[in-house]
Each structure stands twice: as C-alpha cells, then as structure tokens.
C-alpha cells in the first residue's frame, strides 16, 4: 500500500471521527432539540446528494428537492398506505423513490446545458410539487401525509417524543452514506465524473459517454437524497409538500455553496452552519432572518468563494506546503 493511499484512508477515518464528534457535541449542546439535529442530518443528506451532481459533475440544478421529497413520500406512502412500518424497510423505500426520481430528473435535466438546464430543473420541481399536490389521496395534498408510525428500530428502540432513536438512526445513516460516498468519489467512476465536469468533450475523446455516467450519478444522488427524505419521514412522521419545493431546492444549493462545492465535508459544513444560523436568527428576529442569510451568503461568495470548508481547507493546505 502506498503512502498516498494511507493518507486518503487516514482522511476517511478523520472524517468519520469528525462526524461522530460533531454528533456527540450536538447531542450534549441541544439535548432538548434533537429534532432540529435530526433535520440537519436529513437536509445534510440532501446537500450531499446535490454535491454529487453539482459539485462533482457540474450539473446546474435548482430542483434537487424533487429527489429528497420523492424519497420522503415513498417512505411515507409505504408506511401510511402499505403498512410497511419497519424503519429499515421505509428507508429502503425512500432509497428506491429517490433513485427513481433521480433517474427521471437526470434523463430530463441532462438533455440541456447551462441556463436551459437550470430552467428544466426548476420546471421539474414545480411539476413534482404539483403532482404531489394533485395526488392527494396518496400524498395528503397540502395537508401533508400523516399516519406514518414507524415500528421500533430492530423491534427495540422506539421513535419516541424525545427523538433520541431518530437522532442516533440519522447519525448512523449519515456515517454509512458518507463512507460509501468517500469510496465512490475516489473510485474510477468518481475520477471519470471529475473529468466530465471539467471537459466532457475530452472524456468523449477517451471513448467514455458523459451522458451515461451522469445518469448513473443522478440515480446514486437520488438514492442518497432518498435516505434523507426517508429519515425525515420517519423522524417527523409527516411528509409535507415543502419537502418537494423550489424553496427547499434553492436553499440546499445555498447551503452547498456556503460550505463549498465538490467536497463532502463542504456539503455537511454548509448544511450545519446554514441550519443552525437559520434556527438561531429566526428565533431571535423572525422578520429579518432572510436578510441575515442573504448578508451571510454575500459575504461568503465575495470573501470565501470556495465556501467555508473549501476556503479553510485551501488555507491549511497552503500552510502545510510552506512548512515542507
């Protein structure tokens, strides 16, 4: 094994350790607000999923909540209409729902590039939203889908009012997804996608099809967002139309840019900072919270265009280079 590989495995372990530490700190700081932390994890999965197509592959989308919401509805409908209330099976339903939505969105969005691509993605999220609204006998329409009561996890741990089970379940899901994605982005397929982002024509001159690779990535991205959606359905026991909204899509893009695109840590950092900030500022000053978020975002884009994590990582790398 080469030093290079050891270093990247070391980084994986640090990453897993960092998530565990952050999760523990969160638990100690906000023991009464585990619901918020669980929601941060669910949205974090959405932002990770967005990072896969936007950060790693360069696809422009403002409709990514379609994947998240489809996962949430799939898990919710499985429980409310089919009596599939085992949390693991619900998560699996979410993965399938998200992956299917990913396939549909990928096939449509990847037909265009640049601005037309963005417009297609916006149209799609409105279509998904409207479809869920109209299919109210399945989705509960604007009232939301209720009647979701997941079984205890492994038959033992109840999803109770305190939200401890949901939180721990969320942390474990996040760790599993994070580990798999670390493997993915370093794999030959991950390398291919980085190439596609930079120059699809060059990739074609190597005999590979950018289209096929990007659709695969969209399906994977859907599965990841679907885990997030399912977690949200299981932990809150309702699914609302807002999970399938343009606002949610746009916010997740904001979180990704805030943290830094093209890095899994960037996606997670952006989500945590944005959502804690939102929670804090909207409680302190509900009228001006959007103004504050706007100001924060402008500051980051102007002064740290690589995002919070990206800028910090670049700074540390530069210092390390100077020392050697």
């Amino acid at each position: 094994m080469t030093a290079r590989q050891n270093r990247s495995i070391g980084r994986d372990l640090i990453g897993i350790g960092a998530i565990v530490v952050a999760a523990t700190i969160g638990y100690l700081l906000f023991p009464d607000n585990l619901a918020l932390l669980t929601r941060i994890i669910a949205i974090g999965l959405l932002v990770l999923s967005l990072d896969l197509v936007t950060g790693y592959c360069g696809v422009a989308t403002l409709g990514h909540a379609a994947l998240f919401g489809s996962g949430a509805y799939a898990a919710g409908i499985a429980a409310a209409h089919y009596g599939i209330t085992d949390p693991l099976l619900m998560t699996f339903a979410g993965i399938l729902g998200g992956a299917l939505a990913g396939l549909i969105c990928g096939v449509v969005i990847l037909r265009a590039h640049g601005l037309p691509q963005l417009v297609l993605s916006i149209s799609l999220i409105y279509l998904f939203h409207e479809f869920a609204n109209k299919a109210s006998s399945w989705t509960g329409g604007s009232d939301g889908l209720s009647g979701i009561s997941p079984d205890p996890l492994f038959g033992t741990f109840e999803f109770d009012l305190w939200g401890q089970t949901a939180y721990v379940f969320g942390v474990v899901l996040l760790l599993a997804v994070f580990t798999l994605l670390r493997l993915l982005v370093r794999s030959p397929f991950g390398m291919l996608c980085r190439g596609i982002k930079e120059d699809p024509l060059r990739i074609m001159a190597m005999g590979a099809s950018p289209k096929v690779a990007l659709i695969k990535m969209y399906v994977i991205s859907g599965a990841v967002a679907g885990v997030g959606g399912a977690l949200n359905a299981i932990s809150t026991q309702v699914v609302g139309l807002d999970s399938l909204s343009f606002t949610q899509s746009a916010e997740s893009l904001v979180m990704l840019v805030l943290g830094g695109t093209g890095s899994l840590f960037g996606a997670l950092t952006g989500t945590i900072v944005f959502m804690l900030f939102e929670d804090y500022v909207s409680a302190a000053n509900p009228f001006h919270w959007l103004t504050m978020v706007g100001a924060l975002l402008i500051a980051v884009v102007l002064f740290a265009p690589k995002g919070l994590y990206g800028t910090a990582a670049a700074f540390i790398a530069r210092r390390r280079e100077k020392r050697t």
Binding site: Q5, L183, P188, M206, G207
Partner: protein, 254 residues
C-alpha cells in the same frame, strides 16, 4: 498491407463555403503521414469530420473496413480511432497518473467501477508508470497538470492517446505552442510510437514533418493538392503556389 483507415470523398461546407472538398485518403498499419497546409486549409475540420465530432455533408469513413460514418465519436474511439487536440485539453486538477489511469480503465471497460482506487490496482499503476516513464513524465506523475510545463502537457496528451491503444492516431499539431528548445522530447515520443500504429500528424514545423513522415499530404482550401513522398513535396509547383498564395493573402490582410 490492407488499409486500416479509409476516407472516401469527404465533403463539408460551412455556410456554403467548402472547407473539406472531396477528400479521400487511405492508410495502412505503420503508416507515418503528415498532413500539412496553410492556416485555414481545413486540417482541423478534417480531423473533426473523421472522428465524428463534426458531421460530413457527404462521404464515408472506414475503420478496419467497417463503415463508421454513422457511428458517433465515442464509438469510433472504441474502435481504435483516437485523436489529440491542437490546444491541449487536459484536466487541470488531475495528475498525469490520473489521466493515464482513466484512459487505461476506460479502454478496459473499467471506468464505471464505483469502488477501489487505481492507486491500488497494480496492473493499472504498472502500465501507467511505464507509459509515463517512456515519455519522461514519471517524476511528475502525481503533480497536478496545472503545475507542469506546457511541453510536458503536450507529452501527456500523447500518453493519454497511447493508453487507449489506438489503431489509428490523429495528432493535431502535437508540438504547437512548445518552445523550439523543447520539441526534441516530442520528436522522440513521435519516433517511439508503436510501429504498427497508423499515424496521421498535422504539423507546421517542417523539420519535424520531414523527420517523421514517410508520406506528406498537402491540403489547401479543403482540397488535397499533393499526396506523395517528403522528397517531392518541396519541388511541387502547386504546393509552392498554395503556400505563397496564402502568404500573399496573409500580408494583404495584415
């Protein structure tokens, strides 16, 4: 020897102006052909037409006897028709090792693998470092492309093309933009190309052309005006006129 690459009566016009005008040529394994001609003669367009990056108005392209005119660019690469670019197209954030490994994995149908890393694939690493070593790039194999010199980037373009194990290689000005002092390495790389590979090279540097090519094709205004030995090309009246004409035009325009 039977032809590995045939172009038959290829035609392409941009808004009425013929840029490729009834071009035909044929190459056998091991051929070393230089395609020359004044700027704007249609050399790059010709490459784009045969690789499938542009669609011809009429005519045919054959690889190993198979007509590929209706097959897309990706399919032609997979059948062994590989090109390099006049202006290097490399991934700035990736290393030479990553470039070559990606090409090897793609060639073997392994570029879709979603786990593992090429660094831990001994066969890939061995082939990549052998290839990069031959081109004098082994010491740089883990640097980012953005950090290596342009001449080295040109060599990497050749390495990527070779990693695909082509049957026909189209090199679009492989020494363009490289300082005269550094062309030696590129010339060496060209001399070391696999002997059974059919190579068509577009190049302006006539010294390079004469040392490399056994056959020279001259394109002017989209038409082949000369196809013969390097020894004869300088004596050809039509060729001289084409070059003189283009210089005359250029000085008019300037």
């Amino acid at each position: 020897m039977s032809a590995v690459f045939d172009v038959l009566n290829l035609k392409k016009a941009f808004s009425g102006l013929a840029v490729t005008n009834d071009v035909s040529l044929s190459m056998a394994p091991g051929d070393r052909v230089a395609l020359i001609g004044p700027n704007g003669a249609g050399k790059t367009t010709f490459v784009n037409l045969v690789t499938g990056n542009l669609r011809p108005d009429s005519g045919e392209v054959r690889l190993n006897g198979e007509t590929v005119t209706k097959i897309d660019a990706i399919g032609r690469v997979r059948r062994g028709l590989v090109r390099s670019f006049q202006v290097t197209r490399l991934f700035q954030d990736m290393t030479p090792a990553e470039h070559v490994a990606l090409a090897i994995l793609q060639r073997d149908g392994r570029s879709g693998k979603m786990f593992g890393n090429f660094l831990s694939m001994p066969d890939v690493m061995e082939e990549a470092s052998a290839l990069l070593g031959k081109l004098g790039l082994r010491d740089l194999m883990h640097r980012k492309v953005s950090e290596i010199a342009y001449g080295q980037q040109r060599l990497l373009e050749i390495a990527v093309a070779l990693a695909l194990k082509p049957k026909v290689l189209l090199l679009d000005e492989p020494a363009a933009g490289v300082p005269q002092s550094d062309t030696g390495r590129i010339e060496q790389a060209l001399a070391d190309l696999p002997p059974d590979l059919a190579v068509l090279m577009i190049e302006h540097d006539m010294d390079l052309v004469f040392r490399f090519a056994k056959r020279v094709i001259v394109l002017a205004a989209g038409t082949i005006i000369f196809d013969g030995s390097p020894a004869d090309v300088t004596k050809d009246a039509a060729v001289r006129e084409a070059y003189l004409g283009s210089y005359a035009n250029a000085s008019h325009a300037a």
